[in-house]
């Protein structure tokens, strides 16, 4: 294992290594950053596959995958332009409770509507030309959406519970498009790895990244499960509490499903995820257990802050201070996840932490629950 990912320059691995190490092992999380980067990797639904051996033994796909050698410290340096590294929540400058202040954004949302509001604002203020989002589609399987207008952003609103290789949509943008991406943590990581490869042409048009909180995502056969077991076609909301049954809300009403039935549908690669709060984004947004009307909003970078402050000033979102108690709970939840990964506690499914490049001190700190959580 190499210290620091500057050494990735020396890494010579290609699509067949990606296939063998990530896809065949079941570690792929369908983030989509490798899909359509070249003609050889395609996605259908939530399945990503290498169609043909490109015969390059030094491939871009391997370098940008969030499940190959990843060093969060080095990537954080790139994002924040400084060496400090916050190992639990990632670098950030502000922490809020937030919600959309306008009905057009709060109405279609599942929780606070903050992501929709911020993305729409960035578009309408011409700070970006397009927003790459995960949208709804007939049959309710999510699809990438490249929104260029506010209505298109709104149409993509609402939480999705499954993986979706959204980042593949990036390769359909023009080089001179300024793009905002909303993604899961793995997608954010993949995008940052893409930006880190300065020799690669793609990904340099990403202006701003809004990362979502994600502790796990489900596979597409979740929708078959809903059909077969519950007889429902569409999900308007889902609540996954720490204990007790999962509550699934459909147009026909509420359904209670034991967590045991949902757990096997979790994408295997999610169990190895080290980044539940999208540490490398400009802004991170997640739901809050206590109040579905409000989101947890983490402002990380200067760019992210500029957009959030504008949103507050224009009354597109409203914010409240984030209580210390809540922050403690959030940190605990994150550290527990990281620890489980580092210890490779295979409770429900295999875990592989070998892709994580970090110094030994940091590793021990997180394994031992860390002081000053």
């Amino acid at each position: 294992m190499k210290e620091g990912c500057e050494n990735l320059e020396e890494l010579k691995k290609g699509s067949q290594d990606l296939k063998r190490e990530v896809m065949d092992g079941g570690w792929c999380v369908s983030c989509g950053v490798c899909v359509e980067a070249c003609p050889y990797i395609k996605a259908l639904g939530d399945r990503v596959a290498v169609i043909h051996d490109c015969r390059l033994d030094d491939g871009n796909c391997y370098k940008i995958c969030p499940r190959t050698e990843t060093d969060y410290h080095t990537l954080s340096k790139m994002v924040h332009q400084k060496d400090e590294y916050e190992p639990v929540l990632g670098g950030h400058r502000k922490l809020y409770f937030a919600r959309a202040a306008q009905e057009k954004f709060s109405e279609p949302a599942q929780y606070g509507g903050v992501v929709t509001a911020l993305a729409a604002l960035a578009l309408s203020e011409n700070e970006v030309d397009a927003a790459l989002l995960t949208g709804n589609s007939p049959g309710n399987r999510p699809q990438p959406v490249l929104a260029r207008k506010e209505e298109e952003v709104v149409a993509a609103a609402g939480s999705k519970y499954t993986v979706c290789p959204t980042v593949k949509g990036l390769y359909k943008t023009n080089d001179d498009d300024r793009v905002l991406v909303v993604g899961r943590p793995c997608q954010v990581t993949g995008l940052r790895k893409l930006q880190h490869r300065t020799e690669m042409r793609q990904g340099k048009n990403v202006e701003l990244i809004i990362g979502l909180f994600c502790f796990f995502s489900l596979r597409y056969d979740f929708y078959d499960f809903l059909q077969d077991e519950l007889g429902i076609d569409a999900v308007c909301g889902m609540d996954i509490p720490k204990d007790g049954d999962v509550r699934v809300l459909s147009p026909s009403g509420k359904h209670e499903v034991p967590l045991d039935k949902i757990r096997p549908l979790i994408k295997q690669g999610c169990h190895s995820c080290f980044d539940p709060t999208s540490e490398l984004s400009d802004i991170s947004v997640g739901s809050t257990e206590s109040d579905p009307g409000w989101c947890t909003l983490i402002v990380r970078t200067e760019k992210g802050d500029a957009l959030v402050q504008k949103a507050i000033a224009q009354k597109v979102i409203e914010v409240q201070p984030y209580p210390a108690e809540k922050e403690k709970q959030l940190r605990e939840a994150v550290v527990n996840k990281k620890r489980r990964v580092l210890l490779e506690q295979h409770d429900f499914a295999p875990i592989n932490s070998s892709y994580l490049n970090m110094d030994e001190k940091m590793r021990q700190f997180l394994k031992g629950r860390g002081e000053n959580v």
């Binding site: 359509e36 980067a37 070249c38 003609p39 050889y40 395609k42 996605a43 259908l44 399945r47 596959a49 290498v50 169609i51 043909h52 490109c54 015969r55 390059l56 491939g59 871009n60 390769y171 690669m200």
Partner: protein, 634 residues
């Protein structure tokens, strides 16, 4: 050209054209065929003749049956097929021979020694012997005309159908023919008499033999059998174009005065008295012929039974004579004929290839062989990429089966050996029926059977009925390029046909939906849509159908000449990361990677303007060029 009367003129024509001319000169009125190389053009020519009914039948057995009906109704009729077509028609052929025929019925079979345009080589003469009907083998183009003309008369004399067996080196070769008159035959009203019956019954095998014996008597005096050269102790016996090779070999070796040549053209039943009379005197008999030792074994039998002395036989059996691939395999040619005689006479071979590999020259190694691939623009190339993509995305180790047609190229190296099987017409869907029943035993790999639009009508319909009836699990992918391409763009039931109302076109999806099979139609150039639909169908139980429809590029190019070009600024060459996808992986022969500029380049002498590459280039660097040379970059 062969349809005009022009009696007396000498023209250059192919063996196929000559056979057709012969049929016209005999007053043929009815011609049926299913396209099969090398004999396709026989039917092509007859279809354009006036007063002749011609049809592309859906398959060879139907063609044969229809022609037999015309013969029973009083018309001279002809049916044309290749050796595989003979196998398809076999069931009828082997029962029709039992019944007496009225009007001349001629079957033209185009064999393909060495399988230049076939998946196998078959010596149909063995089959004719099996069927116990008369056989004629032309050695020259003019004989192709003469024998076909004569065959109708012979058929009526003997009372059964006659087989004229051509080979590629007659069918596709050209030679001089002096045209004879095409007479004005009186119009015949086709009819079936009240008392006429036609059937096959086991005891009629006796009649088969009676007719064979009658044919033999006629053959004893046939002008198509002849002996030339000295009454020598060594005689060559030969048939077909091998006769000309043998003659030339004798010339090359200076043996014309030492070796006689017995040419057999009316070769089955064997004219044994003629053989004994002309060649019985010899001590050494050499046999030179294509593929099987047919003449060889027949003559050896005759001489052994009736010759009254011991002979030395030199042929495929003794190892002195070899076809292109060995004894009894591959076509005969002048080189093999010369080598055969050198083997028999223990002479050095005077024929030398001039290029002795030079240690420093280009010829120090074998010259690269050209792998066969689909034509530039072929829609199957896109279809195969869609199938490959879908199977990888499906992820269950699925595989596609192949069939006969241009898409059989998908089983070759230049297609990365995508298709797993190629046998006979319809065998892909047939085999899929078997694979489709193994699921209960743990077989969990999805199966695709690919088939062309013409092959679909020829052979697939019963396979699909079986699939529906027995609930087999597979997806039939119909590669619909709207023609019978491999044999020269003949129409079929699913395409527009000159002279037929377009309403009569049978849409494949109507047929399969009528059978109760879910059917989707896609454009193979729309990769994402095609892949999505195929993946969806692969997951479903039972049989279903995906039609990938796009016309053949060569056919299209005749209508509109489009050309595509690479924008050398947008193309990033090896910096793209696509690893030369268009030229190396998609592998259209019109695109190559120009090392001198480090970019992809489209060869305008080959490009047929299908535009598939433009949809696939990840940089959008390929655009359509307007034909006059002005640029239309997008």
């Amino acid at each position: 050209m062969s349809n005009q009367n022009n009696a007396g003129t000498t023209v250059l024509m192919t063996g196929n054209e000559a056979a057709a001319r012969g049929a016209l000169e005999a007053g043929v009125r009815f011609c049926t065929s299913y396209p099969g190389s090398p004999a396709v053009e026989v039917a092509d020519v007859l279809f354009s003749a006036k007063d002749v009914y011609g049809e592309w039948s859906t398959n060879e057995i139907i063609a044969f049956e229809a022609a037999a009906a015309a013969s029973y109704a009083g018309l001279r009729a002809i049916t044309v097929m290749k050796h595989n077509g003979l196998a398809v028609a076999a069931d009828f052929l082997l029962s029709l021979n039992h019944a007496a025929l009225k009007s001349g019925l001629v079957v033209v079979i185009g064999d393909d020694p060495s399988g230049h345009s076939s998946v196998n080589e078959l010596d149909s003469r063995q089959f004719v012997r099996f069927a116990e009907v008369p056989l004629l083998e032309p050695s020259t183009i003019e004989e192709a005309r003469e024998m076909t003309r004569y065959a109708f008369e012979l058929s009526e004399q003997v009372g059964t159908f006659v087989i004229v067996r051509l080979v590629t080196r007659i069918c596709h070769a050209r030679g001089n023919v002096v045209l004879r008159e095409i007479p004005d035959f009186p119009a015949v009203k086709p009819s079936i008499g009240k008392e006429e019956r036609f059937r096959c019954r086991p005891p009629l095998h006796v009649d088969v033999h009676v007719r064979q014996e009658k044919a033999r008597e006629i053959y004893e005096h046939s002008p198509f059998n002849s002996y030339s050269g000295p009454q020598s102790e060594t005689v060559i016996v030969s048939s077909g174009p091998s006769v000309l090779y043998a003659r030339e070999a004798l010339q090359i070796l200076g043996l014309e005065d030492k070796v006689g040549l017995l040419k057999l053209g009316a070769s089955w039943p064997v004219p044994r008295e003629f053989v004994l009379k002309t060649a019985g005197h010899a001590e050494n008999i050499i046999f030179i012929e294509d593929i099987d030792p047919f003449i060889e074994q027949n003559i050896i039998t005759v001489l052994a039974q009736f010759g009254g002395k011991r002979y030395k036989f030199f042929g495929q059996g003794s190892g002195h004579v070899k076809g292109e691939w060995g004894a009894g395999m591959g076509e005969m040619n002048p080189d093999q004929a010369v080598q055969a005689l050198c083997n028999v006479f223990d002479l050095p071979n005077p024929l030398k290839a001039p290029a002795v590999p030079t240690p420093d020259g280009v010829l120090k190694e074998e010259l690269p062989v050209r792998e066969l691939t689909m034509c530039p623009g072929c829609p199957h190339r896109s279809s195969f990429w869609a199938i490959k993509t879908a199977l990888e995305l499906d992820g269950r180790d699925g595989f596609p089966l192949g069939d006969i047609g241009c898409y059989a190229m998908g089983a070759r190296k230049a297609s990365n050996f995508l298709l797993r099987s190629v046998f006979c017409m319809g065998s892909g869907a047939g085999m899929a029926n078997g694979f489709g029943q193994l699921q209960n035993m743990g077989f969990d790999q999805p199966v695709i059977a690919t088939v062309g639009d013409s092959t679909f009508f020829h052979a697939c319909l019963p396979a699909l009925v079986n699939a529906r009836y027995n609930n087999a699990d597979f997806t039939l992918v119909v590669l619909d390029n709207s023609t019978t391409a491999m044999t020269g763009f003949q129409p079929h039931a699913g395409t527009a046909t000159p002279g037929k109302d377009s309403k009569s076109i049978m849409m494949i999806e109507d047929v399969t939906r009528g059978m109760g099979l879910e059917t989707v139609v896609c454009d193979p150039h729309q990769l994402d849509d095609t892949v999505e639909n195929l993946c969806r169908l692969l997951k479903k139980k039972g049989a279903n159908v995906l039609i990938m429809r796009k016309p053949c590029a060569l056919m299209n190019y005749r209508l509109e000449q489009r050309l595509f070009e690479v924008d050398s600024e947008k193309c990033l060459g090896d910096d793209c990361g696509c690893s030369r996808f268009c030229s190396r992986v998609f592998a259209c022969p019109a695109i190559f990677f120009d090392e001198s500029i480090g970019k992809a380049y489209i060869n305008d002498t080959l490009c047929t303007g299908c535009g598939a590459c433009a949809t696939l280039c990840p940089r959008g660097a390929i655009y359509e060029k307007s034909f006059s040379g002005t640029e239309g970059k997008n």
